[in-house]
């Protein structure tokens, strides 16, 4: 993980000297998350969420591996082995609730992380690869979360699996064979459950691998910052350790407080009661809804109700749902404004907050029943979503007049804390 402007590592302790000669792991850690990684000094709390997402992944892997020790991936026993874990395994209830709520918190912090990237233009050159790899992680997370939700084999597990694999069934001609191939049968069953378990165990480690690439790609240009102005000299940065390790430690504490408050006092708040009913292929739940973190995309899926000539509405919905995520891969080339931070982009700023509201509304509608007036509302909200990224954003970045940018990171920091005396002027020149 070497990058052009990393600080040189010079171990003092003879043990470290010995290790570093044989395997430069201490060097790697020093340059990746240690004192050898200079980071802009003006990062705000939104820059905490990358580390928090990593923490959430660790929580998921630890609780998940323990859960797997007590789980039976067989449609006859899956539901009852999960219940047994809750009742008869020491702290089994804790592992189960931590894993279920941990998935939600993983998405919460990743959505805030993406929000940060969108507002502060972190996806722009030279950090396109960081953004693209982040989206790969996001897609892998969605696949992992979906398959994980199937494992308890409750009613929503079963019907969710049926609906989501049914999306592939909407593809003309080859759709149904693909759906059958994915499920290993004509409906979700033991074969589906087994492969979902296998993949659900595998994918988090793939995510961990892509996270390494994500951080590696980040370390080539270094972290972005709220002004969007690149680092101009050493006075603009602080070493990652101890400055940001300390800040991330505090952030992790706040994250854990929120996580534990939900986990211990309202562990089923984000879940659906129907998933405490064992899967029953003969009884369809009144409203099939996925977990909350899929709701915005689910609303887009269901918003298409009118066939487009020979293209059925269902296929349009599927295409639009995939497009709504895949379009993010083109974002670095859709938003051509050289100014990164939304703070200095007055027009972008307004439309950005409309987008945020729009996505929240889509989320609410995705959880609502597929009835009027919700469907009409999700059609309008979905239309804005596509228009924002594909039409409005490219136009804004072309015609917008940005506000003047600060000359440097240090200048912005000094403006924030106020210049008090003559000494302050000396700092940038340090």
């Amino acid at each position: 993980m070497s990058f052009p402007w990393a600080e040189q590592y010079t171990p003092k302790n003879p043990v470290m000297v010995w290790i570093d000669e044989k395997l430069p792991l201490p060097r790697l850690a020093y340059n990746a998350v240690g004192a050898g990684y200079p980071v802009p000094r003006n990062l705000n709390y939104f820059w905490n969420f990358g580390v928090l997402a990593g923490l959430a992944l660790v929580i998921q892997i630890v609780t998940g591996v323990i859960m797997a020790m007590h789980y039976g991936a067989n449609d006859l026993v899956a539901f009852s082995t999960v219940e047994q874990t809750m009742r008869d395994v020491n702290a089994g209830w804790l592992m189960r609730y931590a894993h279920a709520n941990g998935a939600s918190f993983f998405f919460i912090v990743v959505y805030l992380h993406i929000f940060r990237g969108l507002y502060f233009g972190s996806y722009k050159a030279p950090r396109e690869m960081v953004w693209l790899l982040g989206l790969v992680i996001f897609l892998l997370m969605m696949a992992t979360a979906f398959m994980g939700y199937v494992l308890p084999w409750g009613q929503m597990s079963y019907w969710g699996a049926k609906v989501i694999t049914g999306l592939f069934g909407a593809i003309p001609v080859v759709g149904e064979p693909i759906q059958t191939w994915l499920l290993g049968g004509f409906a979700p069953g033991n074969a589906s459950l087994n492969r979902f378990f296998s993949l659900h165990f595998l994918l988090p480690f793939v995510i961990a691998g892509v996270i390494i690439l994500h951080i590696w790609a980040l370390h080539i240009p270094g972290s972005s910052n709220p002004t969007g102005v690149e680092v101009k000299g050493p006075q603009d940065t602080v070493p990652f350790h101890p400055y940001y390790t300390a800040k991330d430690g505090f952030g992790a504490g706040v994250f854990l407080i929120a996580f534990c408050a939900l986990l211990f006092f309202a562990p089923n708040f984000l879940g659906h009661p129907d998933n405490y009913i064992e899967a029953n292929p003969l009884s369809t739940p009144a409203h099939i809804v996925p977990e909350w973190y899929f709701w915005p995309f689910y609303a887009i899926l269901r918003a298409f109700t009118v066939d487009f000539f020979f293209v059925p509405a269902k296929l349009l919905g599927v295409l639009a749902m995939f497009a709504s995520i895949l379009l993010l891969f083109f974002l670095p080339w859709l938003d051509t404004s050289p100014v990164r931070s939304g703070k200095y982009r007055p027009t972008f700023n307004k439309f950005f907050w409309i987008l945020c509201l729009d996505v929240l509304i889509l989320g609410w509608l995705g959880g609502a029943p597929a009835e009027e007036p919700y469907v009409m509302m999700s059609q309008l909200a979905g239309a804005y979503y596509f228009a924002h990224f594909l039409i409005i954003l490219p136009l804004i970045s072309r015609f917008e007049k940005p506000l003047p940018l600060p000359g440097s990171i240090t200048e912005a920091v000094l403006a924030k804390y106020g210049k008090t005396d003559g000494e302050t002027v000396a700092v940038p020149a340090e």
């Binding site: 000094r41 009852s80 219940e83 047994q84 009742r87 209830w93 804790l94 609730y97 602080v238 101890p242 400055y243 300390a246 800040k247 430690g249 505090f250 504490g253 706040v254 854990l256 407080i257 534990c260 408050a261 986990l263 211990f264 006092f265 562990p267 009661p273 129907d274 405490y276 009913i277 918003a303 298409f304 109700t305 009118v306 487009f308 509405a313 349009l316 639009a320 497009a323 083109f330 080339w333 859709l334 009835e371 009027e372 009409m376 059609q379 309008l380 979905g382 239309a383 596509f386 228009a387 594909l390 039409i391 490219p394 000094l414 804390y417 106020g418 210049k419 008090t420 302050t424 700092v427």
Partner: protein, 283 residues
């Protein structure tokens, strides 16, 4: 090139959604959706308070024991409780000998194999057994219950929104069909063999009112009067325990964890401020 493609894709999806909206809006205005009988007459759960309400509430052992008694004498004739074992009853305050006796005297026997002949037989349950099911299988359950299978109750209060209050509302909510309902929806008369209950999602359920008279179950000395309302509350509390037996452990552990985290986070904040002290001031 990317932007032209994006513009066209965006125009297509946004445009088609807008057209779909117009189509939907025209239909909505010309043919407004008709109110359904469920929409008009389904009631939200009744308000009822339990000792385990709130973030630090605890189960009331005496109430759980009364609820267990209602389950044993009324519900267990038709409903299974398959995720709960007799040994779990110790959490209700019964000692080992009492649990043994409860298991031994349970009306339904545990399926077993005759050790001499290998043929199917049954035996008295022991504390390590889960509650035996009242019907051998779903076909038998449906045959004995007017074609409806009585659901397992172990997780019932977690399998419904506001489960504890829902069970209580359902048990006390049986009533004659309101006259206004039949006037507005003449086709919605409760079918033969079903029972009207506004707390049930589709308003008519197969289960007959199980708690019909005060004193249906005889409570021990020093306990409240077994009115229908009291019995319904008690059995709802019992079923809350069967669904979430670790509730008290969870809340205790949660309180300790949060206190620890608050202190640790406070310290982390102080060290963060300390480390940044020279960078945050205007030098």
């Amino acid at each position: 090139m990317v932007r032209i493609g994006a513009f066209l894709v965006g125009l297509f999806f946004a445009g088609w959604l807008f057209i779909s909206f117009l189509v939907g809006a025209v239909a909505y205005v010309s043919e407004p959706p008709q109110p359904t009988v469920e929409h008009e007459f389904h009631k939200p759960v009744k308000h009822v308070s339990f000792s385990f309400d709130g973030p630090l509430g605890k189960y009331d052992q005496a109430q759980l024991q009364r609820g267990f008694q209602v389950f044993k004498e009324v519900c267990s004739a038709c409903h299974s409780l398959k995720f709960v074992a007799f040994r779990d009853l110790q959490a209700l305050g019964y000692n080992e000998a009492e649990v043994k006796a409860i298991a031994k005297q349970w009306a339904i026997k545990t399926p077993s194999v005759d050790p001499a002949t290998g043929e199917a037989s049954s035996r008295d349950p022991v504390p390590s057994d889960h509650f035996p099911k009242p019907f051998a299988n779903n076909v038998a359950a449906a045959a004995a219950n007017n074609n409806a299978i009585p659901p397992d109750l172990s997780l019932m209060t977690k399998a419904r929104h506001h489960g504890s209050a829902y069970v209580y509302s359902l048990l006390t909510g049986f009533q004659a069909q309101p006259a206004e309902l039949l006037k507005e929806f003449p086709d919605a008369k409760t079918p033969e063999g079903l029972h009207y209950n506004p707390y049930f999602p589709n308003l008519n359920l197969a289960m007959a009112p199980p708690l019909t008279a005060d004193g249906q179950v005889t409570y021990g000395p020093g306990q409240p009067k077994p009115t229908v309302d009291q019995m319904a509350q008690d059995v709802s509390a019992f079923l809350t325990w069967t669904a979430e037996p670790k509730l008290e452990n969870r809340r205790r552990a949660g309180l300790a964890t949060l206190i620890f985290l608050l202190i640790a986070t406070g310290l982390a904040y102080m060290s963060y401020q300390n480390i940044w002290a020279d960078k945050k001031k205007a030098a």
